[in-house]
């Protein structure tokens, strides 16, 4: 009973915002998108942000706006065909989140970490395949015929070596070595960005 009777202090700013929202609703016929709400402007029917920044997730636009800026995001979206904009927004949200977690290196820190993981796994694979060869040599020629198996191992080694050179664009290969020894200061798990159950939407 006492809690119900407690009088809440009037927040003038919140009241003003609510009034503005009401105006938006009356003019637009629907709730303004998260971007127009944050930017305090009328949400037009053809608002470029509206399909991708719904009002129930204000944090999504806030983080993208903080890192890239609304006008830059708008320009980026305008340059893309409509069917690619949702994915572009998701990738921008991912990059913005990465930049918030790691203000110095952002996504580049994640790339460096993952490249290190790939290198380590490839080394482990090479060691394991060398071990197979050793075992085969120890077991002698009367064991499994090595011709067929040897060609399989050679193929694996070839694909292993080739795959190590194809992990990023040419520009990435030029830029990345200077970040190779970096270990991110953040301890967050780096998830596959294109798995919907992780960081997207």
């Amino acid at each position: 009973m006492e809690e119900r009777q407690r009088v809440q202090p009037i927040d003038e700013e919140e009241l003003a915002r609510d009034r503005e929202d009401q105006i938006y609703i009356e003019l637009a016929g629907s709730s303004p998108c998260a971007s127009c709400k944050l930017l305090r402007r009328r949400c037009a029917k053809d608002c470029i942000f509206a399909p991708y920044f719904p009002p129930d997730d204000p944090h999504k636009f806030a983080i993208v706006h903080k890192v890239f800026g609304a006008s830059n995001v708008s320009k980026m979206l305008q340059e893309l065909p409509i069917h690619q904009r949702a994915d572009a927004v998701s990738s921008l949200v991912y990059e913005a989140n990465a930049r918030m977690r790691d203000p110095v290196y952002g996504c580049v820190g994640a790339i460096s970490y993952l490249q290190n993981q790939v290198s380590q796994l490839q080394m482990q694979l090479a060691v394991a395949q060398a071990e197979i060869l050793c075992i085969q040599m120890q077991q002698g020629p009367h064991e499994l015929p090595t011709t067929h198996h040897q060609s399989l191992v050679d193929c694996d080694m070839k694909s292993l070596l080739l795959s190590g050179n194809n992990n990023s664009s040419d520009f990435g290969d030029q830029m990345m070595p200077q970040f190779m020894s970096y270990t991110s200061s953040s301890n967050n798990v780096i998830q596959d960005p294109l798995k919907r159950e992780s960081l997207w939407t």
């Binding site: 800026g69 994640a110 993952l114 830029m175």
Partner: protein, 154 residues
């Protein structure tokens, strides 16, 4: 007659950012150490996606010794976004995840093969039966008895 143009001392020492905005480059310009005027492309790339004011805010928020790394990472991300306007460097991250999955499954497969080979090695190194020995002695020739577990034996 030669025309002497008034030398603008600030023109030659302006950083790429101040040159872009056609303004005077102050001595304490926050951009100057990281955007030299001999590489205008760097700033135009970064400015296209982040904007000068956002870059300035980011630079102000981190220690001086890390600002060069920040600028390089922003430049890298901006260049990735130019090459891939939809996914940017997130496409590279996704590709690396796939490579890790492939490498992990190959490693697991190879380690399983090692286990099988090790098991075969242990079996074939067990001492041979007395019957085999007698056959060898009878013929006087060691035929190098084949591994009965070798599939091509049959």
């Amino acid at each position: 007659m030669y025309r002497f143009h008034k030398l603008d001392k600030t023109t030659s020492t302006r950083c790429a950012v101040c040159k872009y905005f056609r303004r005077r480059c102050p001595q304490d310009c926050i951009f100057a150490p990281y955007f030299p005027n001999d590489n205008p492309h760097k700033f135009t790339c970064v400015h296209r996606f982040y904007g000068a004011s956002n870059i300035a805010k980011m630079l102000e928020e981190i220690p001086v010794q890390l600002r060069a790394h920040l600028v390089e990472s922003l430049y890298y991300e901006a260049t990735c976004r130019i090459q891939d306007p939809v996914y940017g460097c997130v496409g590279i991250i996704s590709s690396l995840h796939r490579q890790i999955q492939i490498a992990q499954s190959q490693l697991a497969k190879t380690q399983a093969e090692i286990s099988v080979l090790d098991a075969n090695f242990v079996v074939t190194n067990e001492p041979s039966s007395s019957l085999d020995e007698s056959l060898v002695q009878q013929n006087g020739v060691d035929h190098g008895l084949d591994d009965p577990f070798n599939p091509w034996f049959y």
